[in-house]
């Protein structure tokens, strides 16, 4: 492990609670996403136990100990547990929940009225597509759809989940539909009120990561080109880490991005959020394989 990676691992360790959960930032209390990403990055078996102990009766995971509602972070719990070789039962239960979860969609009648009244021209994406929301009852957005897609693709090697492949395809369709003009992704709007909304580097890299192995080579190439442009102006630790991971999973050379990430961390210190620390550690310490799926 390089000295930079060691620093990141040491920082992650400071975020570990006595119960082996991890906090998003110091003092925030353990949450599912941070614990899952730390478990992935560190191979922390006790963190996986923390996750298993918190799976809800419906198969989902809460956001954290303080907020019991089923959450988008379930995808990361499933990815971490699948990588850790957890038993089939919690994975299957979680996958069933994930397959059933979808973002709010307007009814056919509402979509028709929207088309007739010109409302749909204000937000130019297909509202009928089935992705994943951040919150129960809300619409689908790029990041929760990307993480759910990655989880279902990873789980497909371990368990058979009815409806999983159809849901994964639906999620993929949504991501392509939300791709920004010229490639890349932001939170999930390509155009609003006729204005083009630009992509974000971290979201672009995360979606590319979830789509590795896709046959849509032209869109993938455009999005990597967009990512490269975005990183010139916006090279946060999180963006560099996710970009390095996406490059590696798509068979591109991640080394320049790893170097930039190492230099940034050495220059200004590690990022503060556990998520960024964990992705940085995964990027610098050969962790991309833990996010790969069969293609």
């Amino acid at each position: 492990m390089s000295s930079t990676a060691l620093k990141l691992a040491q920082l992650l360790a400071t975020r570990r609670t006595p119960e082996a959960g991890y906090e998003a930032v110091a003092g925030a209390g353990a949450n599912t996403e941070s614990t899952a990403l730390a478990a992935l990055a560190l191979g922390d078996a006790e963190a996986c136990e923390w996750l298993l102990a918190r799976q809800r009766p419906d198969g989902a995971w809460p956001l954290g100990d303080a907020v019991p509602e089923p959450s988008w972070a379930s995808s990361w719990a499933l990815i971490a547990l699948a990588q850790a070789g957890a038993g089939a039962e919690p994975l299957a239960h979680g996958a069933d929940w994930l397959v059933a979860r979808e973002g709010w969609r307007p009814s056919l009648l509402a979509r028709t009225i929207g088309a007739l009244t010109g409302q749909r021209r204000r937000i130019e994406h297909d509202l009928a597509l089935r992705g994943w929301p951040w919150h129960e009852g809300a619409a689908s957005w790029c990041e929760p759809t990307a993480s759910a897609l990655l989880a279902l693709r990873q789980l497909s090697t371990r368990i058979a989940t009815p409806g999983a492949s159809e849901r994964a395809l639906a999620g993929e369709r949504l991501l392509w539909n939300r791709m920004c003009v010229g490639g890349g992704w932001n939170y999930g709007n390509r155009r609003v009120l006729g204005e083009t909304i630009p992509p974000y580097p971290d979201t672009t890299a995360l979606v590319l990561l979830a789509l590795h192995g896709s046959a849509r080579r032209e869109e993938i190439a455009h999005s990597f080109a967009a990512l490269e442009r975005l990183l010139v102006a916006h090279a946060s630790s999180l963006a560099l880490a996710l970009a390095a991971l996406a490059h590696e999973l798509h068979g591109r050379d991640p080394e320049p991005l790893r170097r930039a990430l190492r230099e940034r961390i050495e220059r200004r210190g590690p990022p503060s959020e556990t998520r960024a620390v964990a992705f940085s550690l995964l990027a610098l310490d050969g962790g991309a394989a833990r996010l790969s799926v069969p293609t």
Binding site: I113, A138, Y187, G194, P198, L238, A276
Partner: protein
């Protein structure tokens, strides 16, 4: 009757056509309006003037009880775009930090929960706020990731019932909303009331905070503001504002003012008038004016400059053509 803006806000923001069909205004909570409100409109030609001194002069009228207390500043860092003027200027945030420390606040914290990007490190660094925080040794709390408590909503403009809100805000002795003076393509204007969307944690409600969109943007603005019982103050960055397709993609518009007050609807109504916007045509201001604060100019004492003399006609957002103050 269903309110038109309620319909449009929920529909357009979430892409959720007809989501709010049939929603009706609930009975109003108790009237919290003061007999009269005061709003200070302070001319400021640029960010290079002594903003700390300006704020101290403006704050004198409100005498906020901050000695030995914890003050939480909530500027607008919803997003960053190097081409735009989305954010409360870091120099004004810095000036507010210095002003409250000079008034003997025990601690001044800057808190924000960005609504679009998860990459807070980027927003802070690129916007220049990080440099200010470091230089002044100010603690920043990412409100998207903070510890939370469930808060019962006192008004019922949305069907949400409760919201999880960050402890840093709920435990503050004084919450200072520091918005940018902007038009907003779903809400008409975004000022001290709308700025409180940023206290709603995205880790729970998402990037964007789509739950609030689907519940109706103006409705959510009123419910969030009505839910908070803590003392509050608004400091609006109108030195350079945004007109047209705000809050992200509008154009810069120099208005040359900082607006201060402790009644958010009164502050926002005053700012709206400076922008040439009729507050009665902005749903959340009209609704808030029924119980939460004063928007009637006859009940607002304008301190310092007369906003009528500073009025500018900001270009309205593309889907709000009829906001203009007559």
């Amino acid at each position: 009757m269903m309110r038109r803006r309620e319909f449009l806000g929920a529909t357009l923001a979430a892409g959720a056509l007809l989501a709010s069909c049939g929603r009706r205004a609930a009975p109003l909570p108790p009237d919290r309006r003061a007999a009269r409100s005061r709003v200070a409109v302070l001319p400021a030609s640029s960010y290079e003037v002594d903003l700390t001194d300006l704020l101290l002069r403006g704050l004198t009228a409100f005498a906020p009880a901050v000695r030995g207390r914890r003050v939480v500043l909530k500027p607008n860092y919803v997003e960053f775009d190097p081409r735009g003027v989305i954010n409360t200027h870091p120099r004004l945030v810095e000036a507010a930090v210095l002003a409250f420390l000079r008034l003997d606040a025990a601690e001044v914290i800057v808190g924000e929960g960005a609504g679009h990007r998860r990459d807070t490190e980027y927003i802070l660094e690129a916007s220049g706020l990080e440099a200010v925080l470091r230089e002044r040794r100010v603690r920043f709390v990412d409100l998207n990731l903070d510890r939370v408590a469930q808060v019962e909503l006192r008004a019922r403009f949305t069907p949400l019932g409760q919201l999880w809100l960050p402890r840093t805000v709920l435990d503050a002795d004084l919450l200072v909303s520091m918005p940018k003076l902007k038009t907003h393509h779903w809400a008409g204007v975004t000022l001290s009331m709308k700025n409180l969307f940023g206290i709603v944690p995205s880790a729970i409600y998402g990037w964007p905070k789509n739950v609030l969109h689907q519940a109706g943007i103006p409705n959510s603005i009123v419910d969030i503001n009505a839910a908070l019982a803590l003392p509050r103050l608004a400091i609006v960055d109108g030195i350079v504002g945004m007109e047209g397709n705000g809050p992200i993609q509008g154009e810069a518009r120099a208005a040359g003012v900082v607006v201060i007050g402790d009644d958010f609807p009164a502050v926002d109504a005053t700012c709206a008038r400076i922008m040439g916007v009729d507050p009665q045509r902005v749903d959340h201001l009209r609704w808030a004016g029924d119980f939460l604060g004063n928007i009637d100019p006859a009940r607002i004492d304008q301190l310092a400059e007369d906003p009528k003399l500073l009025r500018q006609n900001f270009a309205p957002p593309p889907n709000f053509p009829r906001l203009r103050l007559v």
